[in-house]
Symmetry: C2
Subunit: 564 residues, 2 copies
């Protein structure tokens, strides 16, 4: 067989190398439009930042060899064509048309099977001035090198990043932390990481960025760039900022031109449509990685999810299938992580916002937890939000933010989502417990308890943003059950709202004497545990409208800068 | 209803407090034989070590209240009887007989439901001299305080720990790291943590302990203790050691005397037998925590698994069931973690040894991995061993050791075991990928690849111990495919065995010219990746007897001190 793989990063090389292992006697050709093959694209921000010293690192195998043309030819026994652009596919005659980007010469290659791993390209919105040399996107080694070089020679003191998605957040840290470059981030949506986090969770990340000196403007779009005397002005709303350069990081769009040339079916998301075997509408052509759409198992509909980890899994699976198996890609729930300064951020499944947009009837709970046993020294906070479906109690998503170990919980939750688990399954989790790693009852277990109680005993959690944003209206009364010492350093700011300050230890003996006629009590404590406990007791005493502050004041405190 | 809970740590208080929430109008009585209630027993080694400064920490709630009698009475609304010992149950008349341990007075309490959470006690083997004051077990706050005090006043310079299980390993670190106390550990089995780790994985931990100055004697039993002039001599085999004190930490046995007094069924493991609702053979009596046996889902038989995390889950579930639900405890696979110096150690499922003892036909694979992207600065090694069943490819267990993040992988694997997953399920894992947290292809994915290849393409992995122990016999030839620079700092020690040194980059073009007639090649590299790759190619060239060193020389190097 003649098998041609188009695309030299992640899915492409993975598929090609495995195919050669499975079909050592077939001809496997890897085509790429650049000499730069198989790099760890997710490492680029860390090269820009200086965390990674040499760009060669992201091209290396685990045993230190550079994955270049010679590597793929000699070690992986592939035919490698670079720099060649795949121009057109003639499906009927099974011919691929290529052109050499250096010489311009064209080439026709017959194929038996074709793999499209053409990736995705950063979106460049139609903003006046975006063509300036000082405005770039960030997706290739050259992009990282460009900014790294500017930083090294001291010609980058201010940078503006358009878009507070994963790359925007990573880059704001990269420039700030290692070079002390002042970065300003402008995000069109109301908060950072809007596709993966609900607003209150995004506020935690936003606060961490602000604490680290990033200027953040959310809910406003860049109108134009203006270059003048070596400086760049970035205008947004009624405001503007000045910098040496700007990065536009507002998302990616799948590279589908080649697929379109072959009249392959394109999905409603704009990605190439593939079935569960990753075959396109032409069964001889497979597609993998950032150029295809994935099937979201929670929403039961296609989504774009351009991630290196998924691209690699696609590549392996296509190789298996071309070699004669019928493996199925099981679909995705959307599991992601990003480090932003000293905060770890991870999420899986869908947000409250996405769930509501899709018409699901949902419940949410929040929690502030130590990531280890609370008596173990070095523990750090993690702030969690869980979304589930009412009625059937199906788990829908987990968002996790904080200085502590959030990724573990999200990885476990991702598996729960893959098997369509529900709240009760959280009580069956058998996790490795030892004080340096977790609590005897893991936060996921506790979230399950809070959610079940919310549903069955109607002790309602309210979003920590509700209090932080000062959006509490009349009719509410806040019952602050913290001890005096706790209250002192961390007062509740809720203008015009009645606050009853009475520690839980005192309150429990006075429950029957409380006068809360016609009021809706919100019980507030430090982490939400006592709040829940007291709210429950109030319900027993007939105060039906009682709720408690999810995650407590510690959660509110961590989002303070983001609201302010 | 009158509900009595016997046992004041973990399962007991958890069940009692939840019961009161669910049944606020019933009488819930908590009985305990000591005033010390509901402490974090797993934190005791960290108090002994000084990591935790004040013993009160392990008695505190997340909001800083001490969980004492007053707490359970006032906040949790329980009747608390301490220090009372439950002497006998009269099932027929539903009466519990108690005696006050201070006054000696006895008490009879009628009950409607009874919960036994009597825990487990450290085993004190019948060794001459064990009754010495200087020889103690370690399970209660008093034990931790005793050693902490000795250490603080400088009267503990040498300590001998009998048993290298979890507690033995934790304590050897506790005394060494924080107080500089010389500790000597004597373990009857051939290596450390023998119930949770196979020998080669134990050797990694043993090496870490030795590197940190612990004297370790495995495969030998303590014959007697001798106290003379304030010093303790501990004799084992032909050897002895001297110390100021000794801790016997050779395991726990369930406290079943009370259950026996009621003629409740005891399981073959020696724990109280319960059904999936945690009811004993008397349906009015439930049992929870360390005193019961659990059902192992992999072995399909009962086991003892005395863990705080499981005890807490038991407690909650019993409360639900007494309150009218019919929740089922799903059984266990055995998921554990322990920190030993700078190594994280975790395991889930069964070991190779246990699998073989139970007659399972199994395969094993090993791996050395960076816990983050390998180009990300701060990554650390993790060493993994996976055990699976041949034929149906069912996953059986994962052992994970190293300075890197092992617990996450074990927690995820634990879930796979709970749903009886097989090798192919490892390829469907959707995990949160970002360079600071993992590789694009997670180690679990890669282990799946190695295992599938071992089964389907017969490229066999051999245990890293095989090489480390110098047990390679004639007929083998080692092919060292590392680059010269790598080999130099890390030579293979295999006396009398032919070693062919030829880097993969050179070897791949010479495969057809290799002369390996009648020999069994073992391909060796640094982490196992190239070894696997080359072994596979050799097989393509007809060298059927080829294998590769699982985990590579990095694994072998990490177990060096343990082999000695």
């Amino acid at each position: 067989m003649e098998i041609i793989v188009i695309g030299g990063v992640a899915a492409g090389p993975r598929a090609a190398a495995r195919l050669k292992r499975l079909l050592p006697n077939d001809n496997i050709t890897l085509v790429n439009d650049s000499e730069k093959l198989s790099y760890g694209a997710c490492g680029l921000p860390y090269y820009a930042s200086g965390d990674i010293n040499d760009i060669a690192e992201i091209f290396k195998t685990s045993y230190g060899l550079i994955r270049d043309k010679a590597y793929f030819e000699n070690i992986k026994r592939l035919n490698v064509l670079t720099p060649y652009r795949a121009e057109r596919i003639d499906c009927e005659n099974k011919v691929l048309y290529l052109s050499n980007l250096q010489t311009g010469l064209s080439l026709e290659l017959p194929y038996d099977r074709l793999i499209l791993a053409t990736g995705a390209s950063p979106i460049k919105p139609n903003i006046p001035g975006i063509e300036s040399e000082r405005v770039r996107t960030f997706s290739k080694p050259d992009d990282a090198s460009y900014f790294r070089k500017l930083a090294e020679v001291g010609r980058l003191e201010n940078i503006c990043i358009v878009g507070a998605g994963f790359i925007g957040c990573e880059l704001s840290e990269a420039f700030t932390s290692l070079w002390g470059i002042k970065s300003c981030v402008v995000e069109g949506e109301g908060c950072v990481l809007p596709r993966f986090l609900d607003r209150e969770m995004g506020l935690l990340v936003k606060s961490e960025m602000i604490r680290n000196g990033v200027d953040l403007f959310c809910g406003t779009s860049v109108d134009r760039f203006e270059e003048k005397e070596g400086r760049l002005k970035i205008f947004f709303g009624d405001n503007y900022t000045e910098g040496d350069a700007a990065i536009v990081a507002v998302g990616f769009k799948p590279n589908i031109e080649l697929a379109e040339s072959a009249d392959l079916e394109i999905g409603i998301t704009g990605g190439i449509k593939v079935d569960c075997h990753l075959q396109t509408s032409d069964p001889l052509i497979y597609a993998a990685g950032d150029c295809v759409e994935n099937y979201n198992l929670i929403l039961d509909k296609p989504v774009l999810l351009p991630l290196g980890s998924i691209a690699n899994r696609h590549g392996r699976l296509i190789a298996n299938n071309i070699a004669g198996r019928m493996d199925e890609f099981s679909g995705v729930v959307g599991t992601l992580a990003v480090k932003v300064f000293d905060y770890n951020v991870a999420a899986t499944g869908i947000t409250q916002k996405t769930a509501e947009e899709n018409g699901l009837d949902i419940g949410c709970v929040w929690g502030s937890f130590p990531d280890k046993a609370e008596y173990y020294p070095e523990w750090k906070y993690i702030y969690l939000k869980m979304v589930y479906e009412k009625g059937n109690y199906r788990l829908l998503g987990l968002q996790a933010v904080g200085p502590g170990d959030v990724v573990k919980r999200v990885d476990i939750f991702s598996q729960l989502l893959h098997r369509r688990a529900c709240l009760d399954d959280l009580f069956d989790l058998e996790m490795a417990y030892s004080p340096p790693y977790s609590s005897a009852l893991d936060p996921l277990f506790v979230l399950g308890c809070i959610a079940k109680n919310q549903e069955e005993d109607l002790v309602k959690a309210i979003s920590p943003e509700f209090l932080a944003a000062g959006s509490i209206t009349d009719g509410y009364i806040i019952i602050d059950v913290r001890e005096e010492g706790e209250r002192k350093g961390d007062p509740i700011e809720a203008e015009g709202i009645e606050i009853l300050e009475i520690p839980m230890t005192v309150l429990v003996s006075k429950l029957s004497t409380l006068d809360l006629k016609g009021k809706k009590p919100i019980v507030v404590c430090h982490r939400g545990v006592r709040g829940y406990e007291v709210a429950r007791r109030l319900k027993d005493y007939g105060f039906e409208q009682t709720s408690f502050l999810g995650g407590g004041m510690s959660f509110v405190g961590a989002m303070k800068e983001g609201i302010g």
